[in-house]
């Protein structure tokens, strides 16, 4: 599943993500676990929480991030 289709408040782990240095610098790497905080309407950004920091990710990028749910 991709991040763009994730559910609010659910926890996910990154399986695959585009090769962007910026994503990595923000702490999103293969294997990172995070919570999906919220999704903004009209293909707005997806907000996730990695550790204790909030990152807003563009819908188009979120569509390219492969994730799996963790319980």
């Amino acid at each position: 599943m991709t991040l763009a289709f994730g559910n609010k408040r659910a926890k996910y782990r990154v399986l695959k993500l585009p090769d962007s240095h910026f994503l990595k610098a923000l702490g999103l790497r293969k294997g990172t676990e995070f919570t999906l905080e919220c999704k903004h309407p009209f293909k707005g950004p997806v907000v996730v929480k990695v550790g204790c920091r909030c990152i807003a990710i563009d819908y188009d990028i979120a569509r390219d991030i492969e994730v799996e749910e963790v319980s």
């Binding site: 919220c38 309407p41 707005g44 907000v47 204790c52 920091r53 563009d58």
Partner: protein, 584 residues
Amino acid sequence: MKCHSSQNQKPISDEKIKILLMGNPNVGKSVIFSKLTGVHVDSSNYVGTTVDYTIGDVNFGRQQGVMIDVPGVYSLEATSEAEKVAVSLLEEGADVIICVLDATHLERNLDLAYQLKEYPIPIVYSLNLVDVAKRQGINIDAKKLSEELGAPVIPTVAIKNTGLMDLLRTSMKLAKEERIPRPKLTEEERWKKIKDIVAKVQTKVDSGPTFIEILEDKTIQPWPGIPLALLVLIISLGVVIGGGKALRALVLLPLVRDVIQPFLTNLVSLVVPPGIFRNLLVGDYGILIIGIEWPFALILPYVFLFYIVFSFLEDSGYMPRIGVLADGLLRRIGIQGGNIIPIMLGYGCAVPAILGSRVANTYKERIIVAALVSFAVPCASQSAAFMSLLGDRSILALASVYLLSILVALLVGIIINKMVPGKSQPMLLEVPNLLWPDKDAFKKKLKLRMKNFLIDAEGPMLLGIVIASVIAETGILNEFSRLIGPLVEGWLGLPKEASLSLLLGIMRRELAVLPLLELNLTTLQLIVGSVIALFYLPCLSVFAVLAKEFSLKVALLIGLATTTSAFLFGGIINQLGRLILGVM
């Protein structure tokens, strides 16, 4: 207006110790820089406040040094403008690096810290924002961290000046030491190492969400974030409009009209014989009369309150949240949500707004932001003039002018989005913590902004007023009015004296509005006049900055487009308004 990018090219002499101040974005580098060098640089609670570097002198005892405030970067890949600046500064070499770490986000900060270690320059770490970390229940063992990093780590609270002297002393001391660069680690190795270190040095107590954390959470969700944002906007407007009106009516106008003006009039009458010269000084358009009343009684109160509210929002970390909330909407006009910050900056002054649009990486986005701001975002001075002009007469008229400005802004965005090829940059943004703005930093920022306003605005405004009084008192105005009479009187339905607005408006935006104050206009004429002023030429400084940041062609194009639409919209509103009023 001066931009801060021009002041940093002074040569550095060799015997001084060269200190590079580096770190991730929004970790407090600029605050540290300002405190240690006394050179003020802008600092705000969002990423990308510093897009260029600034140099300042620092002395410690007999040692002299220079410090360079490097733009914040997440890595040294040199992909963005800021990263290129940072890497080139590193390659030029330095005696010591102060690497600022954000104690609330240690893991991410260490990534850059490790990349810096690959350079043959000694490093001192400043573990900043420990006050916020403490509030969040995060505790970092600085001593252990220092052992792990093999370099001094000094806990600091930049805004409270805590630890900064220690930081400076340590870096001066270290500057003398040789340093062998560490071998390059691969990304994987680096991350693994960082994870280990964080596990060793950081402890976190979870004490349930604090009020601020709940607020942080709520303000980023579409619900209740969007209504909250609207509420914040309405409250801000209320403070600026209501407060400005009160300040003006209760304090400033009485002071100026009942005390200062009579005093000056009497004084001048004693010395200067009646005639054209006395009129120039204290006549209706007298330099000493409107030269004081306009800038101080009419414009200043609003500008002052605007910057209070704006600086508060800026330092609190709320702005990027608005950016996230507005992303869906701004995408329709070809820019990503983060650009809401330069656009809002434009409600203060278009010059920093256009400079600030540098954080938008694509040319297309920059052009859109610059055009929007030049077209349809009234600056604080102009808004103040609108409020003086319309606020007392008809709040509805005021509201409709602003509504029109927003509609046109959207339209401009849509059109340019179609015209200019290219794409907008996808949003990828770290949302900063919400912070209660620091009192000292806030005061300083406000003071600086007001000083800039007074210097940048007062000079040209006075000049404009001098020109106004000269051409009004000598009859040149009549000539000019006759010349463009058909346009002003026929198409726009304004009295011919309104041509003064058009003349002065070339210089500054509020000067396109203020002359209308003296004309006893009908509400329709007021709206027409305001609309023309709104879209009319961006002021001279904006024109200059457009030419500098883009090209003369772009500046001319924007100027032409705005002026044409000013007369077009103004005329249409006048004709339609007459039609409707005629029917009623």
